[in-house]
Symmetry: C2
Subunit: 391 residues, 2 copies
């Protein structure tokens, strides 16, 4: 597995490289080191203990894993371990990529927390930076027992569960990035793995998604974003992107306003096909697509000019973001209603500032109005792209 | 009934007078006119049509009643009519009292709206004033049919309902006032009347409450506020204040944070005792206590000095207000999930600006910390007062 991890790190880094973001010498050395150690680790093969420790060190995670390293070493092929290592890596890569866009002194605050019942998490927040007004990247690895009704809430459809209190395991990474410049969109992503044990054995499934919330519509950005996600999906199942794009538009709806919160992306739940390893590989590709889908947009727009009016509009749209998260988002609700919830980690998704004006309505033929049109009627971004290409 | 209405208007105005707020000549003339017309109306007795029109005119409501005047005239003794006239009057008196504290140019925007299924409302919002950052005072008078599950949500306990789609009527006034100066507390109140018809006949009940959310704790203010509410309750049932004060502390809890949203007040639901008229009189007293409980606090603190730090704290606490309203408040949820909801009227309760900082914790021995202590452990404000008096 170590070889696979090393290869995957390398792939991500080259992916990132392709988007010309992380090209300084330090990263190249890190990249080379990962390949080197991956190769050595593969050669050593059975010397698991030494190998795992080295990989964990080299990964440069934001904090120590939640599960003790000795346990991770012993269970390298267990999906729980694979998922924990994936989310640790995704968290660290994404935090580093965001810090690269910031002023030097703006760094993520790292809080590693544990839960009495089992497990814990690592919450990384960068607040009040020049580029990012509030950026939160959280992982959690929790286990314990839940009543079937609560477990049921964890999945959209799914089979029913049998039993009283069911042992469960959940590991996920989740991030919301609210930039300061209104020309830079907000991104959210979340990738998660569940295991629940009932009388009939262990049920497992993956869920997740990545979606974009611009304040000003830039069609090129939206197409770039969707295209990157489509590439990530296409390598696994050609039907995934279209299905999960629609699911995303449906899910991120502010029902009472009849509008989406952004230009969408992908969203899925209950993925347990075609087998555990392939499902994990798919989720891995999606999670690895976050940086190339988003960081180029930050780089492109972080120094765009804007004024008081654009800032006010951004704050109003952030109010809508709050409405979605607190009223409709299943993850937030599930989190807050879970006993012993670490609410600060759940609510790190809320913007630093938000605004609500009574009866605010953008005037026709303004950029604000153009955004609203897309939020009310989601577009099929990539068909537009194809039509343009053939035109 | 017209005589009773006139007397009630007079009582409120003298109450208000007692607090030395509305003493200009215009109001005195208005007051005198109300008494005069009330007396004349009583003498005329049967000349209902003329009398009602005059009273409606004199009331100086924010807009025309939702129910056609001709229907109100014919149903003067119906509780639905009594309630509609009460909430119209409370809305108008409260809006005028708030405008008196504002700069001359700051006036309420008045939106009268109707609902396809039946009824409508009048939403009054004053936004971005010098004294009030956002003040919303809304009435709604709606009727139609609801599934029993939805009706059940309208009351906390209550009997079960029998039938498929049940005809219902709901009339209420609701207000949230967010002042600009952090030394002035936010107030919320809501008084409502429901009727639901099932196989067994018509069930009716009242609900409501008034609660205060300070940003900086002023014990004298909290005592004044609670004392005013206690007086309003005591005239009807000596047990009400203590019960409804506790209910308020329990209801306005931000569960995931283990804190109340403010220093409480009173809250009740399902009041259908001892009879309809007495229950209405009780609700009337509560609604009439809003101005004397709150306006003196506005007058006292609206010009208090404050700085950037106090404003930031106020914005953080407004974030908590949003959390309560969007996650826990039954009225907001019931409203937003009702088909054809006028969401702008429901969400006028949200502040103009709010803020969320990750892991914000006031330092010990600061005024912010003192507030938090009271929010975590509600005080029995009037026992303190009694202890002081006997000391």
């Amino acid at each position: 597995m170590s070889f696979k991890i090393a290869i995957r790190s390398f792939k991500t880094l080259t992916y990132v490289e392709g988007y010309k973001k992380l090209r300084d010498r330090h990263i190249k050395m890190y990249c080379a080191a990962v390949i080197g150690v991956g190769y050595m680790a593969y050669k050593q093969h059975k010397a698991n203990k030494v190998e795992m420790k080295e990989i964990l060190q080299l990964k440069n995670y934001m904090a120590d894993p939640i599960t003790p390293i000795s346990h991770l070493e012993k269970t390298q092929d267990d999906m729980k371990t694979q998922m924990e290592l994936l989310i640790m890596r995704i968290q660290s890569e994404f935090c580093r990529a965001l810090e690269k866009e910031e002023d030097e002194e703006a760094k993520f605050q790292v809080d590693r927390w544990t839960r009495r019942e089992g497990g814990g998490g690592i919450t990384c927040v960068l607040q009040d930076g020049r580029v990012f007004e509030k950026a939160g990247v959280n992982i959690s690895v929790v286990s314990g027992k839940l009543p079937p009704a609560a477990v049921q809430q964890m999945r959209t459809r799914g089979k029913s569960f049998d039993g009283q209190e069911l042992p469960f395991f959940a590991a996920g990474v989740s991030a919301v990035i609210h930039p300061r410049n209104p020309m830079v969109p907000t991104i959210h992503f979340n990738y998660r793995y569940f295991e629940v044990q009932d009388k009939n054995g262990v049920q497992w499934w993956f869920g997740g998604g990545t979606d974009l919330t611009p304040y000003y519509l830039n069609e090129e950005d939206a197409v770039h974003f969707h295209l990157t996600l489509k590439h990530a999906c296409d390598g696994h199942d050609k039907s995934y992107y279209a299905r999960f794009k629609k699911w995303c538009d449906d899910y991120f709806t502010i029902t009472h306003r009849g509008e989406r919160r952004g230009v969408g992306g992908i969203f899925f739940d209950d993925v347990d096909q075609p087998n555990q390893q392939s499902a994990f590989d798919f989720v891995t590709s999606c999670a690895e697509a976050v940086i190339p889908s988003y960081i180029p947009l930050v780089q492109k727009h972080k120094d765009d000019p804007y004024g008081y009016y654009e800032r006010q509009w951004q704050l109003l749209r952030r109010g809508r973001y709050v409405e979605f998260n607190l009223i409709y988002d299943r993850g937030t609700k599930f989190g807050l209603f879970t006993p012993e919830a670490r609410y600060e980690s759940i609510l790190m998704s809320l913007p630093l500032n938000a605004k609500w004006e009574y009866m605010h309505e953008p005037k026709p033929n303004t950029p604000e109005h153009s955004l609203m049109k897309v939020l009310k009627e989601p577009r099929d971004w990539l068909q537009i792209e194809q039509a343009r290409a053939t035109a």
